[in-house]
């Protein structure tokens, strides 16, 4: 069996044109991840540019209101560019530069990964092009403008469902065109090996910090960590350093959209089946003939028909649990967090908050939950207003 396996999942299912490049990427990454100079440079960027470590905030009002477990929020929304995406992007763009690449390309759903990539490219002096589904460029027009301000060229993708899946297709196509001078900054723990491992390693800073912070504050590990899952990068980052702690429940929240009994959802674990797509073997929403399903979520960032292979394996081994959360529940949680804690979180993260509202009251007062607030909600305010039928003028 080929490299990069998580149980039966993972692998390198990509065109031959890209094979030498992923092999080279793996070799470079294996070298640089142990290179003290590379790590020093990256740590410096994370600390002095991205704003790490991010806060682990005790959500006192939410804890009191829900009347169960103590709730902590891992504040990835406070990072520069407003989400966890910057952790991975700074690592990958720095790696690409060390590999002698002059140009980076990336796909984006909600725009957070695109903004982060455009930011890192600007900072490190690289050319940058972003592929984004046409529908998402409409849903997230402000983020498109942000990327352009940062000097990136944004390509609206009009093929297929015009969302994240199609943006990934188009970025892979572009990568096969110019693989010699271009690095594809994959935005989640997905794609062909070594990407799922690279992205997970760069995102694992989330749980590395959270683990140390909670031990310092509470003197013990949490009972559960909760994160939203599209491709699954913030969740993998949040889970990673707790995987060995069997007493810590790992819970991923996937987008159930209008509900699992409808066709309008993006709940890959709940409704998907094993498949091979976008370079990896994993679970995908698809039909009986293996045609990838058009998926839906109110959140452009969760609107993806697959899940990273390491998550697929955590599901198979029952080490992690994946639960569906609907649009309605996410919007409720979005408003709830804003009113109880004064934090406007990304609609993606609100899926995780929604699940915590269900489980915290059932837990004991000395139990602890850490929720990953993967990003801030500025980008979603207009969408929430539309959803609620509120007319605002931006």
């Amino acid at each position: 069996m080929s490299k990069g396996r998580f149980g039966v999942h993972g692998g390198q299912y990509i065109p031959e044109t890209l094979m030498n490049e992923v092999i080279r990427l793996e070799e470079s990454y294996e070298f640089y991840k142990n290179d003290p100079d590379f790590n020093k440079e990256l740590d410096d960027l994370l600390k002095n540019y991205a704003g790490r470590p991010s806060l682990l905030y005790y959500a006192k009002q939410m804890t009191q209101d829900l009347g169960g477990a103590k709730i902590y929020l891992k504040r990835e929304d406070l990072n520069h560019t407003g989400s966890h995406k910057i952790n991975n992007v700074l690592g990958q763009v720095l790696l690409a530069k060390k590999m002698g690449k002059m140009r980076v390309i990336a796909e984006t759903g909600a725009g957070q990964h695109g903004v982060a990539t455009a930011t890192a490219a600007a900072l490190l002096g690289m050319e940058c092009e972003i592929f984004m589904g046409k529908e998402d460029t409409d849903r997230q027009a402000l983020n498109v403008y942000r990327m352009e301000l940062l000097g990136a060229k944004v390509h609206p993708v009009t093929s297929g469902t015009m969302t994240l899946k199609d943006a990934v297709n188009e970025t892979m196509r572009e990568w096969t065109n110019r693989v010699h001078d271009t690095h594809y900054v994959l935005g989640s723990v997905m794609g062909p090996h070594p990407f799922p491992a690279i992205v997970r390693d760069f995102q694992s800073v989330i749980s590395k910090e959270a683990r140390a912070q909670i031990l310092e504050y509470e003197g013990k590990l949490p009972d559960a960590v909760v994160a939203c899952v599209g491709g699954g990068s913030n969740a993998m980052g949040m889970f990673y350093n707790f995987i060995g702690d069997k007493e810590v429940a790992l819970i991923g929240c996937e987008a159930a959209g209008h509900g699992l009994n409808t066709q309008k959802h993006a709940a890959t674990i709940a409704k998907g089946t094993p498949g091979v797509f976008h370079g990896m073997k994993s679970y995908f929403c698809q039909d009986e003939y293996g045609q990838i399903a058009p998926v839906y979520s109110i959140s452009a960032g969760l609107d993806y028909p697959g899940i990273g292979p390491e998550h697929a394996n955590l599901h198979d081994s029952k080490r992690a649990q994946y639960v569906p959360v609907t649009d309605d529940e996410a919007v409720d949680a979005f408003e709830y967090l804003a009113r109880t804690e004064g934090i406007i979180c990304a609609i993606e993260s609100a899926h995780a908050v929604a699940h915590v509202r269900k489980i915290a009251p059932e837990m004991k007062k000395d139990d602890i939950i850490i929720v990953c607030l993967s990003g801030r909600g500025d980008k979603d305010v207009a969408a929430i207003a539309r959803y609620k039928g509120v007319n605002i003028h931006e």
Partner: protein, 258 residues
């Protein structure tokens, strides 16, 4: 097992290999167009099983995939198509599709159906050398050749890939996705000589080939020429009436490589 093999396509001079997406614009029309290609001198037919997300294809074939799926094409209907074509001709047939439709169908069941329908090989652009192991057992059991692809970036991988290639070797002429190109810049002679050092399996060149001039030049150095997007574009333009234009085009290409 039928007595037709991919090698037959290369037994009488340079091979012209034509591709179309099965089910575009309909299964019945695909059968008609395939027979026109055969009449015009096509030595091997590649039938695309449409996939929702064909990441190795350019816009022309992407759109054909969408049209075929919108017309209700399924893998089972493509098997029927191949079976009907096989009743009428001994031209070797291969399927081109992505791994997911094959994986989801089940490797064993898929390969058994290929044998039953008289399909001789399988081209899967998102299954590189390293990943073909899982499909080889079923493919071998039912006499289906897994066609290996070699890209301009393959370099030192050529020896390994060509070394155990079956059927024919698909040499990708250009970087990027399928589609017509005005100029092919890759040093094909160097790739072909590396391939020939490692293997006696016939080598055909595809991706970007559309004109008789290009085809003629490639036929000087390769065993065959593969054309997809140019044929699919004719089908997109003429729809159900594409039979004659496809025939004329394939005939002109076949003549150019004689």
């Amino acid at each position: 097992m039928n007595n037709i093999s991919i090698q037959d396509a290369f037994d009488h001079g340079k091979a012209f290999i034509g591709f179309l997406t099965g089910g575009d614009p309909s299964i019945e029309k695909s059968e008609e167009f395939i027979m026109k290609m055969v009449e015009a001198g096509c030595d091997l037919i590649e039938i695309g099983i449409p996939f929702s997300d064909p990441i190795a294809e350019g816009p022309v074939i992407q759109e054909a995939n969408i049209r075929a799926l919108a017309a209700g094409t399924t893998t089972d209907k493509i098997f029927e198509l191949a079976k009907n074509v096989r009743k009428k001709t001994n031209v070797p047939l291969v399927f081109l599709t992505y791994l997911n439709p094959v994986y989801k169908y089940g490797y064993e069941k898929f390969c058994a159906k290929c044998e039953e329908a008289g399909v001789n090989g399988l081209i899967i652009p998102d299954m590189p050398y390293e990943e073909k192991g899982e499909l080889l057992k079923a493919a071998g059991e039912y006499g289906v050749d897994i066609i290996s692809l070699i890209a301009p970036t393959s370099e030192e991988r050529i020896k390994m890939i060509a070394g155990d290639a079956k059927g024919f070797i698909y040499i990708v002429s250009s970087m990027g996705v399928t589609g017509m190109r005005s100029e092919i810049k890759t040093d094909l002679s160097a790739i072909l000589s590396a391939v020939r050092e490692a293997s006696n399996t016939p080598a055909a060149v595809g991706f970007g080939v559309s004109t008789p001039e290009q085809a003629g030049k490639i036929a000087d150095i390769a065993d065959g020429v593969i054309v997809g997007s140019a044929i699919v574009k004719i089908i997109a333009k003429y729809g159900g009436e594409a039979g004659q234009p496809v025939y004329d085009y394939v005939k002109s290409m076949k003549e150019a490589i004689r």
